[in-house]
Amino acid sequence: MRISCRVNGEVREADQVWPGESLLWFLRERLGLPGAKNACEQGECGSCSIYLEGNLVCACLVLAGQAQNRDIVTVEGLAEPGALHPIQAAFLETGAVQCGFCTPGLIVATHDLLRRNPEPSDAQIKEALAGNLCRCTGYAKIIAAVHLAAGRLVSAP
């Protein structure tokens, strides 16, 4: 089947999509957007986190067909082209990125948290990021990165 949706503000289309295909596969393999990562394909790790109609979801748990004519934002769409989003910069600066596989999902989940709660506590950060697994960092630096990003975004003009 043919699927068309708006991804990061642009209408994108692909043909011959298999009806059982996940949105994650569609984004990565058909549209060439590898930001959302495929690690578990069962909703456990959050590395495929994206926005669908403004809601944070695991792209591996959505059918491509369910995204027909819907609005999607992936990690590639958060910052201006060629620039880093303040959340991305904060992750780099605090050392919250090691192998980096979990990072895109964490960036999108953090983005979702900070737009709803601009100054979250540690407990609120842990709850909001509970669905994003990282096997490298031990999470302390990730929490530090969220605080750093939050502080900068709150004080930004």
Partner: protein, 288 residues
């Protein structure tokens, strides 16, 4: 594989009648896992996301009717005051990503004994509205689960939504798991106190072939509260009665040993959850 995408409830029901083998999909948080791991290859998928009626809720005749497609996140933010037990259960589901997509209709469709909405629905005395072109029927939730992952749906039926009264009193939900997030319950328990009717509702999760009510425990606690005039006085229930309530809940469970826990552990934990949720609920009741 075929992909059907009805845009109205009527059209969805027509498609389900024409293609009884079609697998409905709502949030997809159960269905996609099966598809991704190739555990299941349905011939036809019926996407219910474009059926606006399913994602609505409204008060009707003193009750609430909640569409099958309302997500856990929306239950928490939009219905948290009116359905506190279900909202607590919803908060314990997966992660934000899962709660944004997952629905109570999907939980009922999967009918896992571990589904977190079930104990809350059982305790609150909910009923499930199921519909086909032949008409609608309302199934009390304690008759909805027939066995592990089996429910009372006929092949041409879809879950339209569920009905329950806005909480007339305190409601609680507690779940045992290895983490505070992203866990399938080792066991879980829902409790609802109804000071108007002076009754008690319970729901046991993940400790039997289906979610279960603890009928004897409900009657015992309601009687103990009534006899001692506790509803009026707000006096605490004697220790022995609280113990007894826990024992009766544990006895109502029909757990097995599995990877998540042993039967003996589940019974023991349920007795604790029952006493604890009652203590919380009673504290809330007497604080009012």
């Amino acid at each position: 594989m075929e992909f059907l995408q009805p845009t109205s409830w009527r059209e969805a029901l027509e498609m389900k009648t024409a293609r009884a083998e079609a697998l409905p999909i709502a949030g997809g948080t159960d269905v996609l896992v099966d598809l991704n791991f190739d555990r299941h290859r349905p011939e036809v998928i019926l996407d219910l996301n474009r059926v606006a009626e399913l994602s609505e809720w409204q008060p009707a005749n003193g009750r609430l009717r909640v569409g099958a497609g309302v997500s856990y996140s929306r239950i928490i933010t939009e219905l948290g005051q009116r359905l506190p037990g279900l909202a607590m259960a919803s908060r314990s589901v997966g992660s934000p990503q899962i709660r944004n997509r997952g629905t109570v209709g999907g939980n009922l469709g999967s009918a896992s004994p571990a589904g977190d909405a079930h104990p809350a629905l059982l305790a609150a005395g909910a009923s499930i509205e199921v519909t086909s072109l032949r008409g609608s029927r309302e199934i009390p939730v304690d008759e909805f689960f027939l066995g592990p992952k089996r429910n009372a749906l006929k092949p041409d039926e879809l879950i339209a939504g569920f009905w329950l009264r806005p909480a007339p009193g305190p409601q609680q939900f507690a779940k045992v798991g290895t983490r505070n997030a992203m866990v399938i319950a080792v066991c879980s328990f829902g409790l609802a106190l109804d000071p108007e009717q002076q009754t008690v509702g319970t729901g046991i999760g993940s400790a039997g072939p289906t979610p279960l009510r603890a009928g004897e425990a409900e009657r015992f606690l309601a009687e103990a509260l009534g006899e001692g005039d506790h509803w009026r006085s707000g006096q605490p229930l004697p220790e022995s009665a609280r113990e007894r309530f826990g024992e009766l809940v544990a006895r109502a469970a029909r757990p097995i040993d599995d990877v998540r826990g042993t039967a003996a552990y589940r019974r023991r934990a349920l007795a604790v959850l029952a006493r604890r949720t009652f203590a919380w609920a009673w504290q809330e009741y007497t604080a009012q």
